[in-house]
Point group: C2
């Protein structure tokens, strides 16, 4: 194995040979400076991630791994589900470690480092001499690996471990996790690699991890194993199971399935791996299949919030246009997985619609999973909660400090920790800005080094100023995404008069000089959004959006005696804005005109349920 040099903190890093339109830049070269994202990244680092370590201890997740390392004790996994033991809890530790890797890459923190060292030490001791490592199999299967591929999640856990290992390698040059992950993955490869047993995991995940591991280590075997697993999938080898073969993405070959189907997170993780393999192998057919499914998904099965999955029973995408706001499952992990997939498709194609989708998902369906405090989490993110609400594993409308199936909290942590990576890409020809936050971005461009200072009050304000602080002398292209929601946008460059720019990408190529300033102004009126007439569940309703944010009405904001369910908005009057500093610095609320006169406040969807349990609705009847 030849480990390459530290290559920069990028969670997705196509090889030099990959067919990739854009090239990610290292998160270590992006400093987010305050604003909406500065506050959230700090909360993630200072509160959410330390909270996560404490919860991994409290829930027994770390202790389970200690058992595999030889400690005495009893295996613990989901005490509240009727005796069933969840087989995938090791992955919670791995996702948490991935988050810490990105964090430490941007700056040391002795507390985080000590916690991570402790976890890595447990993993090193829990790994067997043959490389295998899985606390569930150790505790419940007598250590016999790979006896239950449909439900066992062994490759899935290995995949999350490899993702954490890649993060530590790229962000820190620390290869302790990489050595463990390579042992685990080699164990899989020996049994399931070329010429070996045919086998796939009921829960995709390892495919994208194998591709990244191949990129990191230069070992083509891992990419080949990922490609082999993609080819083996879709032929019914996992059986029908409880929920049919689509549940584990085994219903149709990956390169032919025309629509998203089954368990949302599994579909999205699978397609992440498919993109990674497709760009590395130049497999246009495979990439086209993923793009076609993505298009089908956003057209027919995506909630306004970017949430995905309308069925609780099997955590599945529903039928096209089956998007009930109250019955939405919209798992936090599915919104996160959609960000991971859209990012890969953005890199592969350069098309701004993928960045638009990242924005919609992150500002709404992802962030709604996290409380203002940073220490409580939603698993399910519906678009409506009735005032009179019946218990349904949702903590009575409150986010929970942890869950017995705690996939979402550490997934939020690693996404937020890698968020600076999503702001921009760069290559020889120029720099592309995809998401807006006050930040300094340093990146090589065309043989030189550029430094850009971004100033903005986004998402509350649509003005984005980009100052070129440093630049090579020769011309290069600065690209800025113009979000699809901006009805009227203007761009002015270096003091020129603002010129209208359409949605998509606004580009300027020139020999930039230090001090040049580019100003993008996005129009941010409150938008009344009509539902697609094919969405039965919200017929006769309207939603309110502003900038990238979806809004919702909460019963907490209604006057005494008013009933959320009786509310009807008045489409004849324009909605207005109002400051909502009670919900955070600079927060802008919306005032929804209602039938009978007056208005009721609406708050950003991601900020709901921070004032005790109550009713909420995104879609308001007319």
């Amino acid at each position: 194995m030849s480990l390459e040099e530290v290559t920069g903190a990028r969670c997705v890093q196509p090889s030099a040979a990959a067919k990739s339109a854009l090239r990610p830049i290292s998160a270590t070269r992006v400093d987010v400076l305050g604003g909406f994202w500065g506050e959230r990244l700090r909360a993630n680092r200072e509160r959410t991630i330390p909270h996560g370590f404490a919860q991994l201890g409290r829930a027994g997740t770390l202790d389970n791994l200690r058992l595999a390392a030889g400690a005495a004790g009893t295996y613990r996994a989901d005490a509240d589900s009727g005796g069933a033991l969840l087989p995938f809890l090791d992955s919670d530790v791995y996702k948490w470690l991935e988050a810490v890797g990105w964090e430490l890459g941007r700056g040391d923190d002795p507390g985080l480092r000590a916690s991570a060292d402790e976890a890595i030490g447990v993993l090193a001791r829990a790994q067997r001499p043959d490389g295998y490592l899985n606390s569930f199999v150790a505790a419940t299967r007598g250590g016999e690996p790979y006896t239950d591929l449909p439900w066992g999640h062994e490759f899935y856990c290995a995949g999350h471990l490899a993702q954490a290992a890649v993060a530590w390698h790229r962000a820190l040059g620390d290869d302790r996790l990489l050595r463990i992950a390579v042992g685990v993955v080699d164990h899989i490869d020996r049994e399931f690699g070329a010429g070996g047993r045919d086998g796939i995991d009921g829960h995709p995940c390892v495919e994208m991890a194998l591709a990244e591991l191949a990129r990191t280590t230069g070992e083509g075997r891992y990419l080949a194993l990922a490609a082999r697993m993609l080819d083996l999938r879709g032929h019914g080898s996992l059986g029908d199971g409880r929920f049919g073969p689509a549940y584990w993405q085994d219903h149709e070959p990956v390169r032919y399935a025309a629509e998203v189907a089954g368990h949302s997170v599994r579909q999205l993780y699978l397609d992440c791996g498919a993109v990674d393999v497709a760009v590395e192998l130049g497999d246009e057919e495979l990439l086209s299949a993923v793009r076609r499914r993505w298009q089908d998904m956003v057209r027919t099965r995506r909630y306004l919030t970017g949430g995905l999955g309308s069925r609780h029973r099997d955590e599945a995408f529903g039928d096209p246009y089956e998007l009930p706001p109250d019955r939405a499952y919209t798992e936090t992990c599915a919104a996160i997985a959609s960000v991971m997939l859209s990012w890969r498709l953005l890199l592969a194609t350069g098309e701004p619609r993928y960045a638009d989708a990242i924005e919609r998902a992150v500002y709404n369906g992802v962030l709604s999973g996290l409380s203002r405090s940073g220490t409580e989490f939603f698993y399910v993110n519906p678009l409506q909660r009735r005032t009179h609400r019946t218990f349904e594993s949702d903590g009575h409308g409150r986010r929970m400090p942890w869950q017995s199936c705690a996939c979402c909290p550490p997934n939020l942590m690693r996404l937020l920790s890698s968020w600076p990576q999503y702001l921009a890409t760069a290559d020889d020809t120029g720099v592309q800005l995809h998401q807006y936050a006050p930040a300094v971005i340093r990146t090589p461009v065309g043989g030189g080094e550029a430094e850009l200072e971004v100033r903005t009050g986004y998402p509350w304000d649509g003005r984005v100023e980009v100052r070129v602080a440093r630049t090579p002398g020769h011309p290069w292209t600065l690209s800025l995404r113009v979000p699809h929601w901006s009805g009227a946008a203007t761009l002015s460059v270096a003091g020129d008069a603002p010129a209208p720019v359409p949605a998509g990408v606004a580009e300027r190529t020139r020999a930039w000089r230090p001090g040049d300033e580019v100003v993008l102004v996005l129009d941010t009126p409150v938008r009344r959004t009509e539902p697609d007439p094919r969405v039965d569940a919200v017929r006769g309703c309207v939603a309110f959006e502003r900038g990238p944010l979806v809004y919702c009405v909460e019963s907490a904001d209604l006057p005494d005696g008013a009933v959320l369910e009786d509310l009807r908005c008045d489409p004849a009057r324009e909605p207005l804005t109002s400051p909502r500093s009670d919900l955070g610095d600079g927060v802008i609320g919306v005032e929804v005109p209602v039938a009978g006169g007056g208005t009721v406040p609406a708050v950003p969807y991601h900020a709901w349920a921070n004032r005790g349990p109550g009713g909420m609705r995104v879609w308001v009847p007319r």
Copy 2:
């Protein structure tokens, strides 16, 4: 134990001392003569029940009991659910036996009798000397009883066994099952009866069975045990489980809970037992609690089809007005359970709204569970199926010959086999007709014997003729239910001019003479039903009903190229009727005026999905 004499084929039989407004009559005294119900009862007897026995054999359900009886083999229970074994499959045999008991009570059938004898023989051999009998516990728990009250379903299975035993005793005077059931229940009573261990089952059912067993055997112990179990419930003794304590009805005391909650079938079975105990013990508080919950249910949580339960994940009632047509769970068993509960409340109170509810449920949400062929079953009965439908344990929109969790098929069998019991009640003061079918009803009334001949084309036709064929000489009261849906109804008695009668009950008291005829004429226009504005999921839609039937549009009836989801009805034009003999003798269809001119056909909801998979909707957008 003192077994009383054969007392007539009644599934619910309040004791002479019970506080019961109405008294059921024996199904052996009701002959249904053709028409809508004649056809269905014959299909149930000749096709569905024999099919059920074959399926109990094929699925391994009977073999599981043979294992408990000492046979060699492997326990089989739900091979398609990821290795989980269902603990309650014995109850499928018991429900099937109950159906056969009612059938044989109305007339012998050598094939059915032989099958039943075989099953009863297996049970007799499987019962242990100590009385205990449960194939799941025998096969998977080393025979250790009562180790998992929340999930184990041991009392539940005992309850279904006791119900079958009571049916065989009452309909046939055959006490083989009763001896087995008494052994099983006495085993429970020894451990959990007065002074014993406190314990309740996660799935209510045994309570109503114990009450019936007490009525049948005269053993007050059983009623006391039922009452004790009702009192023990609602104090959280079963823990939170996966779905919260309401899932197993352990969240609030039975006599105080104001609303239906949790798993629909569990709530309804529990309340059946509560009514049985309440009327026997004269417990007005308990009865009031059930009535209050029933009222809450029909007001806020019942689908138009009488279906109940809007959540797939935990088979639960949802929030008030959470009634999505596509996401409806509306298990066939829940609709059946609502009939069982409404029947008990009708007997207890005499109020016609309970008979109205039986009618709505049976003609729509119950019968939709069964194919025209009589050998295929729906578990889930949604009010909308999109043309483009994603698999969801519903057999791709087709009813299935059996299910791995096959609670619904034999529940349909026993309900249909006991259906003649639901047509009428009688006591010293008169005869009450609740449901309409061509039939001869013989019953004691006021010390004499009356015989009524009912002639009707119901539900296709609203005319019901009742001829008094035999009668005692002294006056008595003939009562006929006037359904709530009948806008204009008239009654004429013995040749008098028709007089308008309001919805509710039309009564005439007189000294009837043989040959007297009473004619009830119900108006049956096609009704356009507007949804409750609080039901978000069907806003802007309208449904079509006629008589007791809810209608739906199926894609099978649309012209080539028309898309069900694009259909909009035209509220300015009146819907019409048209004969649909392709769906059965005398079937009346509806023609729905649609936007753009013309009409599309709608069929009775219970008749949908008999022409291959396709789209369907009850609620049509305007």
